[in-house]
């Protein structure tokens, strides 16, 4: 009988959850042999079939011909008995399926790596991919969906893994590594899924009961009756605070010293608005558009329909739509480039301007949708005024094009994201912008030189560092002096721990993840704008 184990970590998304552990990202070492050569051979055959089906599924959903060709190659390799024959021989001699497969594929990989021709050598990466996919199918049951209500436990978790899970019955995430500023963390906060990161190493078995307290930042594995009772008390108390905050959320946010604060919501997918009462917020401070580009480049009407859905829901309240912010850690097949340092590369508006063919389609849809509400548009990752001007000029071209076609449209106010330190240091270069929206996640990572997806430097990526707060204050006061509206749409804006510091830096408008809305408003009510 193992005894209860308490682990501690950093809260990436607040909340409580209890459920069985579901281990993610298990590798070959976790493979348990059945002990029979016949059963091992059958397992490997099944894993091969499953892997082929998975890759075929990827081909069916891929619009990028380059990617499809690579996947075609993987299917052909997986279907070829020549790939697995040595593995089956080894299984016949008593080796387990995972070890036999790994050894056989490592031999193929070494064969490719030994070639001088760069083109053939590069195929070793494909064979590695094939090897790992089959290993995953053997050890993990493949890309199976975790049972509802599970606590996902692993070193790290990919966005696709998060999105493929069914969160309707709750559940949570505990990561040995991970990061509170990763995109999965953002998704978890938006959906109110409790998430703990950077716990360090611990041992756990599939199905072990877990109590996740992502308010205090801890989890208990294999809890006893005492731990369960304490957990229930804390969970009930938290639910009470949350219910009180939700009841109060209908009222406008006002600080303890009587200053009204605008609180808007960040929308990552149009369907999110279904769960939000428009009366509880001041509009949409950030509508992301990356969801449209997940599988392929979207056409104009698809985009128009998505924008209209959110604009119509907002019922006359402001909706700020951000143009495509691909690149960095958000690759889009057929659009973004492979770069060695993507966060400092061709991302956001830089990439959009480099691909006017793609960008124009979005601008056409935005200008048409702008007619139906209080819409603004903002450009992400602006560094110099010429980029803002190039974006504006493209918008005017598109407007003329639409007018010539007799298409009804409007040119909305165009603002910029302030997330590159250069802009925050010298905002006077952007005095023409209709508004500033501070992207505190990126502004922090670029100011502190601490990658947002890297748990090892998470302690440095701190928005309350005096250097970051000074930049935020510079932008706030410049905006106030020049009547340029300033808002903040990063995670810090919805975090009760950072809200007081932001208010003191002059922030009077924030846009937060929907799940953070009630507690953000409650935190504002307790805070003051004066030190």
């Amino acid at each position: 009988m193992r005894s209860p184990l308490r682990i501690e970590g950093k809260v990436a998304s607040t909340g409580y959850a209890a459920g069985p552990a579901y281990l993610i990202g298990r590798q070959g070492s976790a493979y348990v042999s059945s002990g029979s050569a016949g059963a091992e051979a059958a397992r490997l055959s099944a894993a091969l079939v499953q892997s082929i089906e998975e890759v075929m599924q990827l081909i069916a959903t891929s619009s990028d011909p380059e990617a499809a060709a690579i996947l075609d190659f993987q299917v052909a390799m997986l279907e070829d008995e020549g790939l697995s024959e040595t593995a089956f021989v080894a299984i016949g001699e008593g080796t387990d399926a995972a070890s036999a497969w790994r050894a056989a594929l490592d031999e193929h990989i070494a064969g490719y790596e030994a070639v001088e021709d760069e083109y053939f050598r590069a195929r070793s990466a494909d064979v590695r991919d094939i090897r790992d996919r089959v290993i995953t199918a053997l050890t993990d049951g493949g890309e199976t969906i975790p049972p509802r209500g599970s606590i996902l436990v692993g070193d790290d978790i990919s966005p696709t893994r998060f999105l493929s899970a069914d969160w309707s019955a709750g559940g949570g995430i505990v990561l040995r590594a991970g990061s509170a500023t990763s995109h999965v963390a953002m998704l978890a906060r938006a959906r109110g899924i409790p998430m703990l990161v950077t716990t360090g190493a611990f041992e756990i078995a599939d199905g072990d009961p877990v109590l996740l307290d992502a308010a205090e930042g801890r989890a208990t594995l294999l809890p006893g009756a005492d731990e369960e009772a304490a957990f229930e008390r804390a969970r009930t108390a938290y639910a009470g605070v949350l219910a009180e905050a939700q009841a109060a959320a209908i009222r406008p946010a006002v600080t303890s010293d009587g200053v009204a604060i605008k609180v808007m919501v960040n929308i990552a997918e149009p369907s999110e608005v279904d769960g939000i009462d428009i009366a509880t917020c001041d509009g949409v401070g950030l509508m992301r558009t990356e969801f449209l580009y997940r599988d392929k480049l979207p056409d104009e009407d698809t985009q128009y329909a998505a924008y209209r859905r959110v604009i119509d829901w907002a019922a006359g309240k402001p909706v700020v739509i951000r143009t495509i912010d691909a690149g960095g850690d958000k690759p889009v097949p057929g659009f973004t480039m492979d770069e060695t340092n993507p966060f400092l590369g061709l991302r956001g508006l830089r990439l959009a301007l480099a691909r006017p063919d793609v960008f124009r389609v979005q601008l056409r849809a935005l200008l048409r949708a702008a007619l139906s509400g209080k819409v603004s548009v903002m450009f992400p990752m602006v560094s110099v005024p010429s980029e803002y001007k190039a974006g504006l000029s493209l918008i005017w071209q598109v407007s003329q094009e639409l007018a010539a076609e007799g298409a009804q449209h409007a040119v909305p106010p165009i603002g910029i994201m302030v997330e590159v330190p250069a802009v925050a240091i010298a905002p006077e270069a952007f005095v023409d912008a209709a508004f500033f929206s501070i992207g505190s996640n990126d502004l922090t990572q670029y100011t502190m030189a601490a990658g947002r997806d890297n748990g090892a430097v998470a302690h440095l990526a701190d928005v309350t560092n005096p250097a970051v707060l000074r930049l935020i204050a510079t932008v706030s006061s410049f905006g106030a002096d020049h009547r340029i509206p300033v808002s903040l749409c990063g995670d810090a804006g919805g975090d009760p721990r950072t809200i007081p510091a932001l208010l003191k830096a002059g922030i009077r408008s924030v846009s937060v993840a929907p799940a953070q809305l009630p507690l953000a408003k409650a935190a504002i009510a307790k805070a003051s704008t004066h030190g």
Partner: protein, 104 residues
């Protein structure tokens, strides 16, 4: 004896594809080969070693570069059609570039 003569075929063709017989061309070549009943082997020299033209793992393992001569031989009822089709595919640059190759 005359029956056997009809079921044996040989051909050779120069690979002009820019990067040789790599992933995409190999997929096309093995897929086409699998469409025939005949046993089809290929080699990079007249003397072999001969490998199964229907196995992408083995075709890729030849690492045939641009400019290499591909030797083909087939045995079976549709042997001649199979080699005609394969030679044509290689000569067409696997339908990926300008058709400037010719049967050697």
């Amino acid at each position: 004896l005359s029956v056997k003569a009809e079921t044996l075929a040989e051909a050779k063709v120069i690979i002009t594809h820019d990067v040789g017989l790599h992933a995409r061309p190999s997929v096309k070549l093995t897929k086409l080969a699998k469409g025939f009943a005949a046993r089809i082997d290929l080699a990079l020299a007249d003397s072999g070693p001969w490998i199964d033209a229907k196995s992408i793992v083995k075709v890729m393992a030849t690492k045939a570069p641009k400019g290499a001569t591909l030797f083909l031989r087939a045995e079976g009822e549709d042997a001649q059609q199979a080699l005609d089709a394969l030679v044509s595919l290689v000569a067409r640059d696997f339908d990926e570039g300008a058709p400037h190759a010719q049967p050697a």
